[in-house]
Amino acid sequence: MSLGKTALRLIAAAVIAVAAIAAFIAWQQPGLLPVDPRAVAPSPTTQVITTGEYLARAGDCVACHTAPGGREFAGGRAMPTPFGALYVPNITPDDETGIGQWTADDFYRMMHTGVSRDGTLLYPAMPFASYTKVTRADSDAIYAYLMSVPPVKQKNRPHELKFPFNNRDLLIGWRTLYFQQGEYVPDPSQSPQWNRGAYLVQGLGHCSMCHTAINALGGSSESKAFEGGMIPNQNWYAPSLTSNREAGLGNWEIKDITDLLQIGVSHRGTVYGPMAEVVYNSLQYLTDEDVTAMAVYLKALPQRDSEPPPTSQARLVQPEVMELGRKVYARQCAMCHGNEGKGFPPAYPPLAGNQSITMATPVNPIRMVLNGGYPPGTRKNPRPHGMPPFAHILDDNEVSAVVTYIRVAWDNSGTPVTPAEANALRKLLPE
């Protein structure tokens, strides 16, 4: 009996001790910080500026309005065009040399109509034909953000355009032909996600600046929207987004599209050159939701191949060219892209079934063989794998043979390329 009592007492003591230790531990555990009465929610101003910064990223303003090694948004960057060199203006809020004196109304008029504060017509290198789709609220947010960055005193450099393009009156004609003013109007038959994607792609993203062919007058026609084209002066081909033979995304998974846009690499392909710049400066900063919306819209673009697939006649390759290409491939390329062209995606892109290899113009694959390339280092892929240049190792015959090989091997549907095509691109400096 007394033994039982002692045991009970011991158990009770043990329970109390455990409870005391538990209470002590709980007391030692850090809990929530007490609410700081001085902390405040971000002010409306902060919110607008933060939104504006995000939208300025979506519009990739920094890419053109910052000179290499120069201060952000201070302009001065030379933009070579077929019509001569344009020098991009200072858009920091400096009162004398920037846009410090501009009002939100001035800024919206410029974005929406392509007319500067003093009434001059802007050259269409400023993508106002796309930015016209931007809402007033978004334009105001971008304006608020630009007003908040450090002002830089740096005079704008006059453009160096050839006659007759140095006469801005010509722009009246250009605008009549190619400019359609108007904010984006949502399509009620489509989902909010599709509409958000369309708004970003057609508006701030200004994708059509490169992915729609530019004609001799520097204009692009709406009926050919997103059908692809050579990027003037950069000698890269911006593939069609509406052709499954090029970069048409109809048969891509949404994840591969968002990876390509936001990360720069995907299981279907990798961005290099001008698109690497867009991902580096702009798309990597967009939210998953916005990039997915863009992907949904791009994937849903109507597919309309403007050219029929190449005939089997056009795809014929001389056996000795094929053999040379196979040899070069085995020695220089197979290590990373694999004997079957499957690559090691997303580190090294696949070549088999890769539309950017087989599309009608071979400019991009030739340039890759000549100059190599690194995808952009992005927040989700900060340490990309790179491809070395081969221009100094392979002659024109070898370059054209290996590009021919990857365009027709593994059921790829491309056509052969000539040494002359390789030679023409070899003479250009890589950009």
Binding site: P382, P384, P388, P430, E431
Partner: protein
């Protein structure tokens, strides 16, 4: 007999060339490694940064990490101009460029054979003097006073000069002289290059390329010596 000897020599030359070129072929063991990530560099700088057959592309292995990083940033931001490099690193962030620089600074591959081509003795002697004692009358300090007693460079910002081909060294000196290449201010190399004549450039580039590989290829620590000129890259 003569024919046989000729054949032997040509075969030897051909196989040498192909071995040397293999050093510039893409190859890696593990996909998720720096070795695989820097394949973009290998056709010009070799698998371990030892350089390749091509005389213009420099050895980068074992150069100080901060020097290599400065060059990568300068190529990206266009303050050092060489279009193939400017293009390759255009969209790479600082942290990654630092990692690439660290990677190559740690490599210690064998040095390529010394340059052989004919250069007259007087030129080599002038090169030796410039490199080891300098030319006080022209205000030119010797290379070794900053690039290390064994010419393996000095941390953090001064590159080694051993194992560089004369084409590369001469081109850099000339570009410095004309203001095409520059370093952080005060730009000590600018002061030196502008004092060198064309003949001096040829002499020093030829002599440097004929030096034996050092036993220890690492750069010297900084500030072991007082440098004759102030250099921005060391500050």
């Amino acid at each position: 007999m003569l024919l046989r000897a000729f054949l032997f020599v040509s075969i030897a030359v051909v196989s040498c060339a192909s071995i040397a070129q293999d050093e510039g072929l893409p190859a890696f063991k593990q996909l998720d490694s720096m070795e695989a990530r820097v394949q973009g560099c290998v056709t010009c700088h070799g698998q371990s940064g030892q350089g390749t057959q091509d005389g213009y592309f420099p050895r980068i292995a074992g150069k100080p990490a901060a020097y290599l990083y400065n060059q990568l940033v300068a190529f990206r931001d266009l303050s050092r101009k060489y279009p193939p490099m400017n293009y390759l690193v255009a969209y790479l962030p600082d942290a990654y460029l630092r990692e690439i620089a660290d990677h190559f600074s740690k490599q210690r591959p064998a040095y390529a054979p010394r340059e052989q081509g004919a250069v007259d003795a007087a030129t080599l002697e002038r090169g030796r003097i410039l490199a080891t004692t300098g030319d006080a009358a022209k205000g030119i300090p010797p290379c070794i006073s900053c690039h290390g007693a064994a010419l393996t460079g000095m941390n953090p910002g001064i590159p080694g000069l051993v194992g560089l081909r004369p084409t590369y060294v001469a081109a850099q000196l000339v570009r410095w002289r004309v203001g095409d290449r520059h370093a952080a201010e005060p730009d000590c190399m600018k002061r030196i290059a502008s004092r060198l004549s064309d003949a001096d450039v040829t002499a020093v580039a030829s002599w440097l390329s004929r030096q034996d590989a050092p036993a220890e290829a690492s750069p010297e620590s900084s500030n072991l010596v007082r440098m004759p000129f102030a250099c921005g890259s060391q500050q």
